[in-house]
Amino acid sequence: MRTINFSTIVNTVKQMCVDAAYVLPDDVLARIRQARDDEPFPRARDIIGQIIENANIAATEKIPICQDTGFAVFFVKMGCDVRIDGGNLIDAVNEGTRQGYAEGYLRGSIVDDPVFDRKNTSDNTPALVHMDLVDGDRLEITILPKGGGCENMSGLAMLKPADGLAGIIKFVRDTAVNAGGNPCPPTVIGVGIGGTADAASVLAKKALLRPVGINHVDDRYAKLESNLLDEINASGVGPQGLGGKHTALWVSVEYMPCHIASMPVAVSINCHAARRVTAAL
């Protein structure tokens, strides 16, 4: 059994919140640069140019890439041989989020009650934590700050097995294309296929954790990913929805087993500011 201090987790999470808000992952920025060089439509190229300039300003001047610093969504892999001294993991993640969003001058974007009060909690808590228990004595934490504009464009379809590959492609393409300029294209698209309605939705988010530019290890799913990217980019929606070649930067698909009656498909759309940071303790 390995012991990790509560305060170590708090401090790590705090720094992750700030780093994720200020600095775009290298793989995402590289893909955006590639898209600019490959974009034939002048207006679209100008917009991608602004996105790159924005990333540079944010990183050098240490201000958030986007004012929507997101719902603090965490994916945690907790080794069965880890024990936390001084409190529990969820409290530590929330405390780190509270401190990180305050000290990094990030935006509080969470309201306490979705229907009646809609009062801003001010410190961006509670965070949302997805936990996986794994073998070993390591604790791996990833933050995926998720903006509201792109999250609102998510989709879920409980397809029939007979809908097949064509049904999946149609649903994912329609979800991404009908979103138009709302989710801040060029987007990164996560697709979760299989499981149940709830599991497919989480899986679509997990698909966003894979670096852009890296296809699925299963060739069939890798081919599906490139087909989906081509289909979405054939729409002409383009950066910010104002026309162009690059509606999406990347599509990642993950799958899991499902019921004989089902073929759930969930789509999680991330904006071009596809922020994420991972830390291992």
Binding site: P40, I51, R107, R118, G236, G238, G241
Partner: protein, 192 residues
């Protein structure tokens, strides 16, 4: 692909004739005063209008920016300050355009038919700012003050003085919609 893009410098107070001469696809550098308002502030504006009360600020000939910024830092008057999705304000925008004399809106993403019709009717303009370029846009904001609804935190109404804020005319006063025309133009050039 072709497409030289016009860039036009505009200052506030907005001249309605200049506003009406803008065409979807024009690039604009805006200098002057704009006011932020997003979901929660719009809900309060609508409450005022419904009750027949005056708004806490005059929107006549003004520009609303759909934005909820990150807080100011020790070195900056405001943090990251890009646009939010405009379609969430579509329910209110036609009323506000017709009742207040609002000249223009700044946001991101397409607008509904009712909004486009009211833009035509009122001779207004909808500008797109680049979503997710909040740091770049922040560099154009020279001063920032909260005007009202401070209790809403990031959804308070801020007055920004901006300098050369880069915008694109997304819906012009004739109702031309770049969210339709832009993708069409790209696809037709591609197929040539």
């Amino acid at each position: 692909m072709s497409g030289s893009i016009n860039t036009i410098n505009i200052s506030t107070p907005i001249n309605k004739d200049i506003l009406k001469s803008l065409r979807a696809g024009d690039n604009v550098l805006l200098t002057g005063t704009i006011y932020t308002a997003r979901d929660a502030a719009h809900k309060r504006f609508m409450g005022c209008i419904d009750r027949g009360e005056s708004l806490p600020l005059s929107l006549d000939s003004q520009i609303i920016y759909y934005c909820g910024p990150t807080p100011p830092t020790p070195k900056r008057c405001i943090g990251s300050a890009g646009p939010t999705t405009s379609s969430r304000m579509d329910r209110c925008a036609p009323y506000i355009l017709r009742k207040t004399g609002l000249a223009a809106m700044i946001g991101k993403g397409g607008r509904g038919v009712d909004v486009i019709n009211s833009i035509k009717e009122c001779g207004a303009v909808y500008f797109a700012a680049t979503g997710g370029a909040g740091a770049l846009i922040s560099s154009c904001i020279k001063s920032s003050h909260i005007i009202c609804y401070e209790d809403l935190g990031p959804e308070a109404v801020y007055k920004f003085e901006v300098e050369a804020l880069p915008l694109t005319v997304a819906v012009d006063s004739l109702g031309n919609d770049l969210y339709v025309l832009g993708p069409q133009e790209y696809l037709s050039q591609k197929s040539r």
